[in-house]
Subunit: 261 residues, 2 copies
Amino acid sequence: METLYVVKIGGNIIDHSEKLADFLQSFAALPGKKILVHGGGKLATQLAEKMNVPQQMVEGRRITDAETLRIVTMVYAGDINKRVVAALQSHGCNAIGLTGADGNAILAHKREKAGIDYGFAGDVDAVNAELLHALLSLNMAVVLAPITHNGKGQLLNTNADTIAQETAKGLSTHYNVQLIYSFEKSGVLLDANDDSTVIPSINPSYYQELKSTEKIFAGMIPKLDNAFAAIRSGVGKVIIGKAEELPALIAGAAGTSIVHE
Amino acid sequence: METLYVVKIGGNIIDHSEKLADFLQSFAALPGKKILVHGGGKLATQLAEKMNVPQQMVEGRRITDAETLRIVTMVYAGDINKRVVAALQSHGCNAIGLTGADGNAILAHKREKAGIDYGFAGDVDAVNAELLHALLSLNMAVVLAPITHNGKGQLLNTNADTIAQETAKGLSTHYNVQLIYSFEKSGVLLDANDDSTVIPSINPSYYQELKSTEKIFAGMIPKLDNAFAAIRSGVGKVIIGKAEELPALIAGAAGTSIVHE
């Protein structure tokens, strides 16, 4: 099967225009099929401040009232997504930017959790693999903004990590998917304060050992649980590392690879 | 050839949420291939006010400095485009929302006009008919926001009427294109103050007669010149009328048809 790269970039890159420009140049140069999933960074919070719309975060998730939904849709699907697409085009990479509403790419439902009203926050139900496969087959890179819809006319603010994971899983029947999660560290670290202690590769048994000996930073555990869930669902490989090192991450020369065996 | 409807809706519909909802229901119900081009209405001006970014208009065109470009991209490509797409999906119409940067759909260049600096305003160079044809062939309606790019990484604010016209022309080799311009009047009027004086049909010779006898409102002349230019470039028919009457416009039971003979 052909390889597909699904690359998720976080806010630390989005917020830094030079790092973003460098990253997009590397992404544009990746050969073959590729999908970029971007988060929002601080821009939505900044716009909300300018517009005097108070923002509330619970457990790292933004409480998305109607006005905030409009702000994140403008920032993620408008400003960021279109700047990214235009930059990729300038590097000769034909890109198309989508939300989950576009082509019904990602269907979600409003998150219901006892005790907390997240507002218009979405949990993913289905990724439209046929659409994404068709667009990739037109030799376009797909750039996904973290906005989905419920099919009933409601847009929903949705976690970009989840979108990357569900997209990678959904396309694993069509491609050998490599899912790259970029974040601010160089990979999964043995010592959270020392960027030189990257673990090059983690398989399920080593993960159990790392967890049982408490050698792993607690904040990494949800990310790694998700990564192992992804490879159990058919994703070929998950790579965790710095967006600035994208070519090295792909080449296996940097970051941490989460592998089957 | 198969019929393609290219429908342009103006600000008077965008600014009116009930009219917009009704229009989108009618648009979703149109059979066959279709493209919707939307303008921006007053929302960009309202957001600019909230953000304290002064706006300047010259001859009805917005002077687009860098901050204003960001605002119109957020409003047109983010807020409006995605609300429209989500609403169409809720009516069972699979829609995909694009700017000119997406899939390199519409290439433009920065407008240069002696004496006036319009800022990041774009004049259209090329419509990517192959891309739009491919997306339409996937049975999606395409929803175009009035933002283009120059291929060098620069987004450009672009007139929605022009985008509709160039798109209609560009696709006329693939389809029998019907271009529908909706605006606040019921059609081209013999008496600009009387909405019951709609001229049902205008061909080139009748247009000459209307112009020479000064029976036509001066403000309509650029619109009509563009409409005749479109049919000379291969567009099958141009219809001018109210968005609220879309089914009747398509059926030839309302509005003004601009025809070859």
